[in-house]
């Protein structure tokens, strides 16, 4: 046995410790801790909302109306956050809306992330003509205003969550692909990848076994931003009538409806609006915190 000692290198990668260290780093940042809490709250509330949307028989929670108890302010009996213009419970509607936002944001981001990973790692790892073609496609797509695409698509197909989802995913994949390609290029030059190649490990296997796990951190960071962005885009389009269509209670839709009652009962708009702002705030600051943990060099733009 050699005389060398086992040294401790602070940037840990062993799961349990890494998580602990990451959390320590994350919570050292005050804003990021708030963000993490908000994001966690969003996930909890959103999962509840998703259950309400998906499990049949629960829709009464957000559709049950009582026209005689319409436009109640928050803290009304039985209605913590008040009721809307049809006397439906705002708290449940916001929970449901958060669920729709969560499902939408996560689904769209997951799809674009998957596409971005495939395209980006192929372009970055293989290089050459594949890279030239795929990079062309990435540059072509990246930065295209999602809202513009969604407006045109929404006009073409009939407007709805699906269309907005398609619009968002068909742009954001390029954001992931762009970053992943850059990471793949830098990882490709790493000696452990060369070592794997020397061992005869196939390209796809190297991508799956070496590249993707090593990009996971930065991809997740980008993911949190894109979830937030997808939610905002959906809400904006719902607001101008090109997103989720009524009576689907997405947050944007709730705000759009509530806006009409601003003079009578501002809460109908303010409650979902605040929820929306908190979600985005949470995801963004949480993303910032994660970024600092995973990779300080990664910038949003």
């Amino acid at each position: 046995m050699s005389v060398e000692q086992v040294v401790h290198v602070p940037s840990g990668h062993e799961p349990a410790r890494r998580l602990r260290e990451a959390l320590t780093l994350l919570f050292a940042n005050k804003l990021a801790s708030i963000g993490a809490l908000l994001a966690a709250a969003f996930v909890v509330v959103g999962v509840a909302g998703s259950v309400i949307v998906l499990v049949p028989g629960l829709d009464h929670l957000y559709t049950d109306q009582n026209l005689r108890a319409a436009l109640l302010p928050p803290l009304a009996p039985d209605h913590v956050l008040g009721t809307d213009h049809l006397g439906r419970d705002l708290a449940w509607r916001v929970v449901t809306g958060s669920g729709i936002s969560l499902m939408f944001g996560v689904a769209v981001t997951a799809i674009s992330m998957a596409i971005g990973m495939v395209v980006g790692s192929i372009a970055g790892y293989y290089g050459g003509i594949a890279d030239r073609l795929l990079s062309g496609a990435i540059d072509f797509t990246w930065g295209f205003p999602v809202i513009l695409l969604a407006v045109v698509l929404g006009g073409m197909l009939s407007p709805g969550l699906l269309v907005v989802g398609i619009a968002v995913a068909s742009v954001t994949w390029a954001g992931f692909a762009r970053m992943i390609r850059a990471e793949a290029i830098s990882l490709h030059e790493k000696e452990f990848v060369e070592a794997a190649r020397a061992l005869g490990v196939s390209g796809p296997r190297i991508i799956v076994r070496h590249l993707l796990p090593n990009m996971l951190g930065s991809t997740l960071v980008l993911g949190t931003y894109y979830v937030a962005a997808a939610i905002i885009v959906e809400a904006s389009l719902s607001f101008i009538g090109l997103g989720a269509q009524p009576p689907m209670p997405s947050l944007g839709q709730l705000i759009a409806t509530g806006r009409n009652f601003l003079s009578v009962d501002p809460w109908v708009a303010v409650v979902p609006g605040t929820a929306m702002a908190l979600i985005v705030l949470g995801l963004n600051t949480f993303g910032d915190g994660l970024r600092d943990v995973f990779d300080p060099r990664l910038r949003r733009w």
């Binding site: 109306q65 213009h85 049809l86 009576p247 009652f261 601003l262 003079s263």
Partner: protein, 545 residues
């Protein structure tokens, strides 16, 4: 209502009749007595036959001032101001066009471009005397020949060509008159002729304008000429200095208009309409959001006028498919709907429930319809049960407009109470109409807005087909009676007959008629919308500098 209150109300009405109260004061006092604004409006409409139906009284107005720009906030996006094949008639129609015959505030037909008209004794000939000395904006003289030419266009390619079907021939008669020959008696034609799609225009100019008709060019006889047409952002009309004066008896200004121009902007978000009249970016706004009306009423700078809109929200279900075709299903749905609750919540009281196909302020409205479709969820459940349905599920198509969606959300909740699940699909107009006409949806909701309610029964009974609407025998017979009436009495009788039949058979399920609310700034004078026209006339309107 107690006796004192009742007598107080009678006093109030009397004061209003004697022009000692403005319309606004009346509505306010009525409100104190616990009368909703819409009911007050109906009362006003009922007692407004004497010429002040629009509400404002004469003494108040003072000396008209020449000049100024009237800024109007409109509640929808503009379409081409095309009187022949336009998709609908927008507010500027009454500023730039004139119809042959017009309804006065009491519903009586009075002169406009035509100064007199008469059916022959057999009811098969209608002759119409055209006013002398009229001309078009372009300067060309308007004669009976022009009117005859227009009528022939209307009955062949016009929007309302269907309703002209009984007309065999139109030609110029003697003495600047137009003679219409009918294949069968149809006294109701007069209703059609007084609607905005029969506005008189210069056909030669229309031909020359091509696609530009109603957008770049309008050559008609109204007191204003079209200046700017940007349908999404503004429509501007200007005073026509050569206007020979109105032939309409209840228009007091017999010369060119007082206003220099009128500028309309579409304000599509209901909440913004209140905002914009309050901030003063417009002088008049149509249909503010119902929830904002009380706030506007309490604003001393503003005058709020409220009438029943010549419209109705209704739902039609496709009876050719499965459960929806079971007898009693439409009735069950109708009984499940608490229309008064809709009025109170969605419209904040600024609407009236409708139990039949026509709004209550119509001159031949038959209150008998109210017995058929009262709110009775138990009855609804019974009807469903006897139709053998334990649950019912269908999709309903609607135009994507906030108020429409709100109405349907509320209705959906009510239907759910009796075990009917209604999924609402709100789409843009471009997607709505083709589906509706193709009879694709299980059900659809629509709001008609038209001066002749019976036209709507005739039309929407057939859309997409009578089959779709369940071939209701009594209603169809009623329509036939309407279409063959030879005199006004027969027409009225047919109208009552068809209403009752409709309420019983429900080819479509009526919901509510919302209030037509106009809000104008106090510096606007003589703005007098009437209960019988969808849009007001602008020749009398003037504005303080």
């Amino acid at each position: 209502m107690t006796q004192t209150e009742e007598s107080e109300l009678r006093d109030t009405i009397e004061q209003y009749r004697n022009a000692r109260l403005t319309r606004r004061d009346f509505v306010q006092r009525a409100a104190v007595l616990g009368i909703s604004a819409s009911v007050a409006a109906s009362i006003l409409a009922a007692c407004g036959g004497g010429g002040g139906g629009g509400g404002t009284t004469t003494g108040e107005e003072g000396q008209p001032v020449q000049g100024g720009v009237l800024r109007m906030g409109y509640d929808r996006a503009f379409q081409k101001l095309d009187n022949v094949v336009g998709p609908w008639a927008d507010e500027p129609f009454t500023a730039i066009y004139e119809v042959p015959i017009i309804r006065d505030p009491g519903g009586k037909f009075v002169s406009s471009v035509a100064e007199a008209w008469e059916f022959s004794s057999d009811g098969l000939t209608l002759s119409m005397k055209i006013r002398e000395g009229l001309k078009f904006h372009s300067g060309a003289p308007l004669t009976a020949a022009n009117v005859a030419e227009d009528f022939n266009i209307f009955r062949t390619t016009g929007v309302t060509a269907n309703f002209w079907a009984p007309v065999k021939n139109v030609e110029e008669g003697e003495n600047n008159s137009v003679v219409l020959t009918l294949s069968k008696t149809n006294y109701g034609l007069i209703e059609t002729i007084s609607t905005l799609f029969q506005s008189i225009h210069n056909e030669a100019s229309r031909k020359a304008a091509g696609e530009g008709w109603g957008a770049t060019t309008v050559d008609a006889t109204g007191p204003f000429t079209l200046k700017t047409f940007k349908p999404a952002s503004e429509v501007v009309v200007e005073r026509w200095p050569d206007y020979p004066g109105s032939g309409v008896p209840f228009v007091t200004n017999k010369g060119p208009a007082y206003l220099d121009s009128i500028r309309w902007v579409p304000i599509l978000e209901p909440a913004n309409r209140a905002n914009e009249i309050e901030t003063g970016s417009v002088d008049i706004v149509k249909s503010p959001a119902a929830q904002d009306i009380s706030r506007l009423q309490s604003n001393d700078d503003l005058v709020v006028l409220e009438l029943q809109e010549l419209s109705n929200y209704f739902i039609t279900i496709d009876r050719t498919r499965g459960a929806l075709g079971q007898p009693g299903v439409a009735q069950a749905m109708s009984h499940a709907i608490d229309r008064q609750a809709l009025v109170d919540t969605v419209f904040f009281g600024h609407a009236v429930p409708t139990y039949g196909p026509i709004f209550p302020a119509y001159r031949w409205y038959d209150p008998g319809v109210e017995a058929y479709n009262e709110y009775d969820p138990d009855k609804a459940r019974d009807l469903l049960k006897s139709a053998g349905l334990s649950e019912l599920r269908f999709t309903l198509l609607t135009q994507n407009q906030p108020i429409q969606v709100q109405v349907l959300e509320a209705v959906g909740g009510m239907l759910r109470e009796v075990g009917i699940t209604m999924e609402v699909k709100a789409v843009e107009d471009a997607a709505f109409f083709p589906d509706m006409f193709a009879g694709k949806p299980d059900a659809f909701m629509f709001k008609w807005l038209w001066e002749s309610p019976t036209d709507n029964m005739r039309f929407f009974g057939r859309v997409p087909s009578w089959d779709y609407n369940g071939n209701p025998p009594k209603s169809m017979a009623g329509i036939d009676a309407w279409e063959s009436a030879a005199t006004e009495e027969q027409l009225e009788k047919a109208c009552r007959q068809v209403q009752l039949a409709w309420a019983e058979e429900l080819p479509f399920i009526p919901l509510v008629t919302q209030s037509l609310v106009w809000v104008h700034h106090k510096r606007v004078h003589n703005f007098r919308p009437t209960q019988t026209s969808i849009y007001p006339l602008f020749n009398d309107v003037w504005i303080e500098a």
